[in-house]
């Protein structure tokens, strides 16, 4: 850490003018320099410090806007019709309005992670002290916070050091958000630059949260062999009292586990969870169980299995209290960000709260003290379980059939369904006593229950689906490797070369939410395909869970089939949402550890290195949230392209390259200063794919980078061509753009490709030492 608070306390001071008593003098912070690495040009960058870098990206990857709506309704001038080239009363046009909305989304996402980090760090400092050391991997991880080092130019050593970083991040979010006010920013490209800034600080915020919890709670520390834990609705032992935790901020769940252990109750109560709190509680206690991603909330609650529901923050259904009441399960809200209208019982005696919850006098309680949450949740679960007897909100088969007979065939359910599922047909069948079609819907249902809200007969359609799929649900028993956290420095040393040279064909990170177009199975299929091809596959959050929910013929799940090391052919679960910076961090560490680039406050140079040399791609197949938007934008600024599923088109703005515009794909050769055409590598920075098949071909293509060696490029082309042939049924029509010399041509396809090159009028070209930054040119040509 580079800063220290300077505080002078004087009990009594006698001077010529009198006596001073109990004087306390603070002079802010003084620099304590212990880090030998030279600081780069942009420590704690302001919202404009990296604007030039952003514009370089935006000149190549131009925004393509797809407005949700023709109007702006953000101020009382409006609504303003911005259709086509119209401008609103404030002067803003549609392009700027769309980028403004993207910035708003990313500010929400970044603020959410940063506020999460702030709460977590405050709690951990209170519990473990400001001097508790940051340790995310012992001797195996020297670069403990690559994103923070890169962005801020500091090296956090203790929990207390993280507060300074959070101060900076909170300031940046405020500045960014202020730019969205009426009459502030007017240029869509400057909004876009700010979007990238929001993404960058979001990555820092997430990193702070995860390194704090890894250090304090002793989560797996960069462990490739982190334990395999249970996941799926079928893994829950419903004969025990069951506590369900939902959300992202893990302290209340940790306190539940601690209370159970301290009171010898650990084997008597099931601790189960959804979303990232579930991932993180299994990093703390491998006996805890993950039910599934965010989409499993309703189906799990309505199953009646949870006896107590504890919600913290983020991605929690706003109607969780209503749903909890349907199964007579008390609900405890544990975060100031999500109070759900409940009375604040934080200062009440635990046993009083328990009595009120068990008797049903109160449906829930707001408790803003994680330790008290632990005690109340456990006591309540034990006492309420025998009374509830797993009272459920899922109907019997007879009720499903009778309910289906009341269907008016209005199709409002289908028209409300995000995936346009043919619910009316399934209901029609159900009315005749056949539930198979309803059961089939389960695989592609994202669990939003919009169908129920739309139904004029108030049929509990989602519950019908859950009932019909009861057998499948019982068979949901899988294994997931607990989130390992960081990537070890030694792993980076071993694979840095093969990645940069292209011999490991790519690093693909499956991240984000569960708003899938055709169910989570597509995630498992994609991860296994690329791991089988010896890519390094990383996972986090809900995508990490979906990747687990598959079994091969031997009954093994992907995390059992593939290893967990950061190496070719691994499926590496880094952890929850806030673990995503370990993925960005791995790319940064390749530049730092393998290529020996200065890391400290040297953002632009490291991003330039990653864009041109590290074949990394993010895939957020079910991206839904504002947090996912911020996470993606953090990757874009670092030069890592992101692919989203078709629902991701609703983020309303893509960053698309144009491979047919040759002039967009020139870089400097750092050796000579010459401008060299390198082909569209990577072709896009942000892009939504229509289908899994399209995405897989594009992912393989996006792994190509200008610096690939000929051997590496040949390997990458082999995968690209093979996937295109298998999934699209054709040889790609753009391979001539990616072949620089004949040595790039995959040997087994040489004759066929040479013929194509001849038809295209292809000419051999040089492979530069690529950079977009003129200042990195070592020697200019005369």
């Amino acid at each position: 850490m580079t800063k220290k608070e300077f505080l002078v306390k004087i009990g009594e001071l006698k001077t010529d003018i009198g006596i001073l008593k109990n004087l306390e003098l603070s002079v802010g912070k003084i620099i304590e320099e212990t880090w030998e690495e030279k600081p780069g040009p942009t420590p704690f960058p302001s919202i404009t410090d990296l604007r030039e870098w952003d514009f370089k990206l935006l000149r190549r990857y131009r925004p393509f806007y797809m407005p949700f709506c023709d109007v702006c309704c953000l101020c009382t001038f409006g609504k303003c019709d911005l259709t086509g080239d119209k401008r609103g009363a404030c002067g803003l046009n549609m392009a700027a309005q769309q980028s403004r909305i993207v910035l708003l989304a990313c500010c929400i996402g970044a603020a959410t992670h940063i506020a999460h980090a702030r709460h977590l760090v405050e709690h951990l400092i209170e519990k473990f002290g400001r001097d508790h050391p940051i340790d995310v991997g012992g001797v195996n991880v020297e670069v403990e916070a690559p994103v923070t080092r890169l962005v801020c130019g500091i090296r956090p050593r203790k929990l207390g050091d993280l507060e300074d970083v959070l101060d900076y991040l909170e300031g940046q979010v405020t500045h960014l958000l202020s730019a969205t006010h009426t009459g502030q920013e007017g240029s869509n490209l400057d909004f876009e630059s700010k979007v990238l800034h929001a993404g960058m600080i979001d990555q820092v915020g997430m990193e702070i949260a995860d390194i704090a919890q890894i250090s304090a709670y002793n989560f797996p520390k960069a462990d490739p062999n982190a334990p395999l834990v249970d996941i799926g609705l079928g893994v829950v032992d419903a004969s025990k009292p069951v506590i369900m935790v939902i959300g992202h901020n893990v302290p209340p769940a940790v306190e539940i586990v601690d209370y159970l252990q301290e009171n010898g109750l650990h084997d008597m109560v099931e601790v189960t969870g959804l979303c990232c709190t579930a991932i993180d509680i299994t990093r703390y206690d491998p006996k805890a169980k993950i039910v599934g991603p965010i989409s499993w909330q309703l189906r799990y609650i309505r199953s009646g299995i949870p006896d107590v529901i504890v919600v913290d923050e983020q991605c929690i259904r706003a109607d969780s209290l209503i749903e909890a009441q349907k199964i007579k399960a008390p609900l405890i809200a544990a975060s100031p960000k999500n109070c759900l209208g409940l009375p604040d019982r934080t200062n009440d005696p635990a046993d009083e709260i328990v009595a009120d919850l068990v008797s049903g006098k109160a449906p829930g309680a707001l408790i803003l003290d994680p330790e008290k949450v632990g005690e109340v949740a456990v006591k309540t679960a034990i006492q309420v379980a025998p009374k509830r007897r797993k009272f459920k909100a899922v109907p019997d088969v007879k009720d499903v059939i009778e309910g289906a007979k009341r269907c008016r065939r209005c199709s409002q359910c289908r028209r409300a369904c995000p995936n346009d599922l043919d619910i009316p047909k399934a209901i029609e069948d159900a009315a005749k006593g056949r539930l198979e079609r309803l059961a089939e819907l389960y695989d592609e249902c994202i669990g939003c229950a919009r169908c129920e809200s739309a139904c004029p007969e108030d049929l509990p359609i989602h519950s019908f689906i859950v009932k019909a799929a009861e057998k499948k649900i019982k068979e949901e028993t899988y294994k997931i490797r607990a989130g390992r956290g960081a990537i070890q420095d030694v792993e980076i040393r071993e694979v840095g070369g093969p990645i940069v040279f292209g011999e490991i064909p790519g690093v693909i990170a499956f991240v984000g939410c569960a708003n899938y177009p055709k169910g989570g199975r597509e995630i498992a299929e994609m991860t296994m395909e690329f791991a089988s091809r010896r890519y390094i596959v990383l996972t986090s959050g809900c995508a990490a869970m979906s990747a687990a929910m598959y079994k091969n013929e031997e009954g093994k799940t992907p995390y059992e089939i593939f290893h967990g090391a950061f190496d070719a052919g691994g499926i590496v679960n880094v952890g929850s949402c806030v673990s995503n910076p370990h993925i960005a961090g791995a790319a940064i560490k390749i530049a730092s550890i393998f290529a020996r680039k200065n890391l400290r406050a040297n953002y632009e140079e490291i991003a330039d290195y990653i864009l041109n040399r590290i074949g990394a791609v993010g895939v957020a197949w079910g991206a839904m949230s504002q947090k996912a938007a911020a996470i993606a934008s953090g990757f874009w600024r670092l030069g890592v392209p992101v692919v989203v599923g078709p629902h991701g088109a609703k983020y309303r703005r893509m960053l698309l390259g144009r491979k047919d515009r040759e002039e967009d794909w020139y870089v400097y050769d750092a050796r000579t200063g010459e401008k060299v055409y390198v082909g569209p590598a990577p072709e896009h920075l942000f892009y939504a794919a229509e289908t899994k098949e399209e995405a897989m071909v594009m992912i393989a293509k996006l792994c190509m980078r200008p610096s690939d060696t000929t051997k590496g490029r040949a390997i990458k082309l082999t995968h690209y061509i093979d996937l295109s042939r298998r999934l699209l049924g054709v040889m790609p029509d753009d391979i001539h753009l990616f072949i620089r010399t004949k040595a790039d041509i995959p040997i087994t396809m040489r004759d066929e490709i040479l013929k194509i090159l001849e038809e295209k009028g292809w000419k051999e070209r040089k492979i530069p030492d690529p950079t977009l930054l003129p200042r990195l040119i070592r020697r200019r040509e005369e």
Partner: protein
């Protein structure tokens, strides 16, 4: 007055004109100097009274002399039928080119003036058409799908399968009779 198929997808003041008579489509194709047909993966999943929508679209393309861009993995269904589309690329790539007034087209002869969309997920086609409505002012767009797409220039209202198939047949017959 047509309603969006997905109930909440309300567009704003400018909405697609409703194709009340299918011959509007064939007339627009005839009138267009540079029409283009963009086909998404759902086209391969749609059965029109015993034939795939893909087969119908191949005939439509031949009748109108209209190039086909197959999006996603749809190209394989054309190739399976011995028909090579003029191009295949992601829906966002073709949309991004259509909004560029300087794009030279698939054949080097310049930008298109009419783009017909069919077979892309409703919600994805919805936002893509919105992008073109706002940022490609000279381009006319038609949705050939059986659900109302409010961001197109022209769209069918929400139709049942039988009526939609009948409309598609009228378009084909009209192009046969009066030329593309």
């Amino acid at each position: 007055m047509a309603e969006p198929w997905q109930t909440a997808e309300i567009p704003g003041p400018k909405k697609a004109l409703v194709i009340t008579k299918p011959k509007i489509v064939s007339a627009m194709i005839r009138r267009a100097k540079r029409p283009i047909l963009i086909v998404g993966h759902e086209a391969a999943e749609i059965d029109l009274d015993g034939e795939s929508l893909i087969d119908y679209l191949i005939r439509l393309s031949n009748l109108a002399g209209m190039p086909i861009v197959a999006t996603a993995h749809t190209v394989r269904y054309f190739i399976d039928r011995g028909f090579r589309p003029d191009a295949w690329m992601p829906i966002l790539d073709i949309a991004n080119r259509l909004r560029d007034p300087n794009w030279s087209g698939l054949d080097g002869n310049g930008q298109y003036d009419l783009a017909i969309f069919v077979g892309i997920q409703y919600y994805m086609e919805w936002v893509v058409l919105s992008g073109l409505k706002h940022f490609s002012p000279k381009l006319k767009t038609i949705s050939l799908d059986r659900f109302y797409q409010p961001h197109a220039s022209w769209s069918f209202p929400n139709l049942n399968m039988k009526d939609w198939i009948a409309c598609l047949k009228v378009i084909e017959e009209d192009l046969k009779e009066r030329g593309g």
